[in-house]
């Protein structure tokens, strides 16, 4: 642990189940490393200051804004991005519900909304509308007016419960 100005270092973590090692400046944003080095471009940049949730990922199961995480703090972590969510059959109902309910329009907020929804549904498989509003409160959408998104998450919870 000898800090070195301007020095890149190797950081290892697990992304969507795969062990990855990247050579990075410690203060690079996790968001940029995911998008540029690992080509996981499903994670979007919106505000870049932790207000909009477009860059939401899961780190060790916790919902975080990847624009606010220095990549060095993700050393050893288990990261799940929207690509990992999409590949998980457990969440296929969620994507279908977004389609069926009109939960996506321009699409920039959609990956973050879905990652936040996964975080919620993992903890609460039968959320109330208030639970859904709170779970998604850190994610901004400028198209839908939110109701279709909230309904999509509620519908996904209902369909998952039926199965």
């Amino acid at each position: 642990m000898t800090p070195n100005r301007g020095a890149k270092r190797e950081i290892s973590f697990v992304v969507n189940g795969d062990h990855r090692t990247v050579c990075v400046y410690p203060m690079e944003r996790l968001l940029d490393v995911l998008r540029q080095q690992l080509s996981l471009t499903g994670t979007k940049e919106g505000c870049g200051e932790g207000e909009c949730g477009a860059c939401s990922v899961l780190i060790d199961g916790a919902l975080v804004d990847s624009c606010l995480v220095p990549v060095a703090q993700a050393e050893g972590a288990r990261i799940v991005t929207i690509e990992g969510v999409a590949a998980n059959p457990r969440f296929s109902a969620l994507g279908q519900a977004f389609l069926d309910c009109g939960g996506a329009q321009c699409g920039i907020c959609t990956p973050g909304m879905m990652v936040a929804a996964v975080h919620l549904l993992d903890r609460n498989s039968a959320p109330t509308m208030d639970d859904i509003r709170e779970g998604l409160s850190g994610n901004l959408c400028r198209c839908t007016g939110y109701l279709q998104i909230l309904e999509a998450v509620a519908e996904a919870a209902r369909r998952t419960a039926v199965r």
Binding site: M1, P3, N4, R5, G6, V24, Y25, P26, M27, E28, R29, G48, E49, G50, E51, G53, S56, A62, L63, V64, D65, C67, L68, V69, P70, A72, Q73, E75, A116, H119, L120, R133, E134, G135, S137, G138, N139, L140
Partner: protein, 292 residues
């Protein structure tokens, strides 16, 4: 313009002892970074002056919440989610649990820490009025040792605090003697989610034998530091929860605050809201019956 990550040093000690040793060696050089919800915003804006960052995120010594019969000792690295999810905090310190629940969204709550909220020293910080109402103590640590200071003396002016350059906040201690109190918390902002407060209140009190007892009112966003209202509180002691008493308290409360015009609100609006919040609290407290 965003900062260039190549310009920054970054140390990530795994133990608190190492972190305070680095601070002791170059006390003014290092900026501690925990969950990054404030520091990374400055980084994004290109306004982060420090060039050496000391990560204290997830240091186990800073993330413990310890319960003893007389107090709860909350590690300064505890996140808002940790606070919300803790049974004793939820039950006995609902002002703090509620403040944690309306700080940012879930992602911010998973990363933002109580110590960070204190050191960032915003007058609008959500958790600080609760610390005033509960008369919290802070445990500060450095390579020189630990010291314990009342939180009420910690913030001395806008973004000014009694923290030496080689010190970290280690823990926040709250006395466990308020479980029988009526508590009231409210945040007034542009919208419920993700908004920074225009005015916030954390208040506690009792009514016994038809009289206000030990009323504590703390406010955010109405002065350069989070503010308690000692004159208002004193005037209420032993008085009945009646309209003229409450109206007098309202006038005192407004006079004790020093709100300003800024991007989120105006001084005039804030003063009006302070009065409304104090009345709302006292009326609710008056209806609460503490006589057995």
């Amino acid at each position: 313009m965003r900062s260039d990550p190549a310009d920054y040093e970054f140390a990530a000690p795994t133990r608190l002892e190492e972190a305070v040793r680095l601070l002791a060696e170059q006390p003014k050089a290092w900026l501690p970074i925990a969950g990054g919800t404030d520091v990374m915003v400055q980084f994004a804006a290109g306004t982060l002056a420090a060039r050496k960052l000391l990560s204290i995120w997830n240091l186990p010594e800073l993330r413990r919440i310890e319960i003893s019969p007389h107090e709860i000792r909350i590690g300064a690295g505890s996140t808002y989610s940790d606070l919300r999810g803790h049974e004793v905090i939820a039950r006995e310190f609902s002002l703090l649990a509620r403040a944690a629940s309306w700080t940012g969204g879930i992602a911010n709550q998973n990363r933002g820490t109580l110590g960070g909220n204190i050191v960032n020293a915003s007058p609008a910080a959500d958790s600080l009025p609760a610390l005033l109402a509960y008369e919290a103590d802070l445990v500060l640590c450095s390579a020189r040792g630990e010291r314990r200071v009342p939180y009420v003396n910690f913030h001395t002016g806008y973004k000014q605090m009694e923290l030496a350059p080689d010190e970290l906040i280690r823990a926040v201690c709250l006395p466990r003697r308020f479980s029988g109190y009526f508590s009231h918390a409210r945040k007034v902002g542009a919208r419920n989610a993700q908004a920074i407060s225009k005015v916030s209140v954390a208040a506690l009190g009792r009514v016994q034998n038809g009289e206000f007892r030990d009323v504590r009112i703390a406010l955010g966003s109405v002065a350069p530091v989070p503010l308690r209202l000692p004159e208002t509180e004193h005037a209420l002691q032993g008085k009945p929860p009646e309209a003229d008493v409450i109206a007098h308290a309202r006038r005192l409360a407004v006079a004790e605050t020093r709100p300003i015009d800024d991007i989120r609100s105006t001084a005039r609006y804030r003063a009006e809201v302070v009065g409304n919040l104090v009345v709302e609290f006292l009326e609710a407290l008056g209806r609460a019956n503490h006589d057995k």
